[in-house]
Amino acid sequence: MRIACIIPAFNEESTIAEMVRGALKHCSTVIVVDDHSQDRTAELSWRSGARVVKHILHLGAGAALSTGFRAALRGGFKIFVTIDGDGQHDPDEIPTALDPILKHEADMVIGSRILQGSRSMPLIKKIGNRILSIATSFVSGTKITDSQSGFRAYRREVLDCAMHRARDYRWASEILVLAAKEGFRIKEVPITAVYRERLKGAGIRDGLKILYSTMKSL
């Protein structure tokens, strides 16, 4: 089975090589989308065995991911896995996310950082994530505990029908709502997450934008 792992990355030179090597153990190809990093992210990804797709301008996580999806769709891959490039996810948990898809139990799998307990998640992120997950569950009609997780697996058909358009962090809820509306089966599996010192990701302003765009799609 041809499985592509897509890693959107922006200035992730400290973690990207480890993520690529880890993902290559479970996927046939790793595609790193370098969102115009100013460091050695692209070079280190390439040296670690990833195929690198480079943006000539910084567009945002959602755009990087959709570029990666398009590259993988062109490559004829059947299953897609996405993980973050910042080292938050453990690539050795990729089989956990792939399992429901390989067993035909789901079309889209979300690695939930909440299901196993979210003690390591910073409080502000925990609150924001909870609010956005409730909103996304309400709009999509599917119970989701971690709507903002970047650790996911998809069947090709999901991306053929439900590709997101958002360029920023809104992609996470948008694609979930689109997939649910198309009738795809969505399942969550528990994953662990490591929050390193250099904390990046969506802030309060992003959270408000996600909430607004999610509720707008009602």
Partner: protein, 127 residues
């Protein structure tokens, strides 16, 4: 001739020349040129023929405004709202196009160099 008349005329003439130069250099279109030219000509007319202002008073009073300045400020604010709306839409459109272009270039380059063909796995160089 009052000082404000000289200032208005001079300013209008300079701006009219600059706008005409922009048109000659094809930096602005004919529609944009016509709109700005109308404004500069009005300024020049107010400066050179003060009676023109009194005609404007009659026109604006007919429109329900007390003086031309009320008309100008009210109308300008409305025009600025319309311009802001139009520019917002235009920026959003251009932003989308730029994003699509960046993604397109990224995918094209991925197929021709650096990453190797997506379909065929290339061997990475030794570290």
């Amino acid at each position: 001739m009052e000082l404000y008349e000289i200032a208005a005329t001079a300013f209008g003439v300079v701006m009219l020349l600059l706008t005409t130069r922009e048109l000659a250099r094809r930096k602005i279109g004919l529609l944009q040129y016509s709109l700005w030219t109308a404004l500069w000509l009005a300024l020049i007319l107010i400066g050179t023929i003060p009676q023109f202002y009194h005609t404007l008073v009659l026109v604006t009073q007919a429109l329900g405004m007390y003086t031309p300045i009320h008309f100008v400020t009210t109308f300008s604010i409305l025009v600025l709202f319309a311009v802001a709306y139009y520019l917002g839409r235009r920026i959003a459109e251009l932003d989308d196009k730029l994003s699509m272009a960046v993604q397109h270039i990224a995918l094209q380059s991925a197929n021709t160099k650096h990453a190797g063909l997506i379909e065929e796995k290339a061997e990475p160089p030794a570290a």
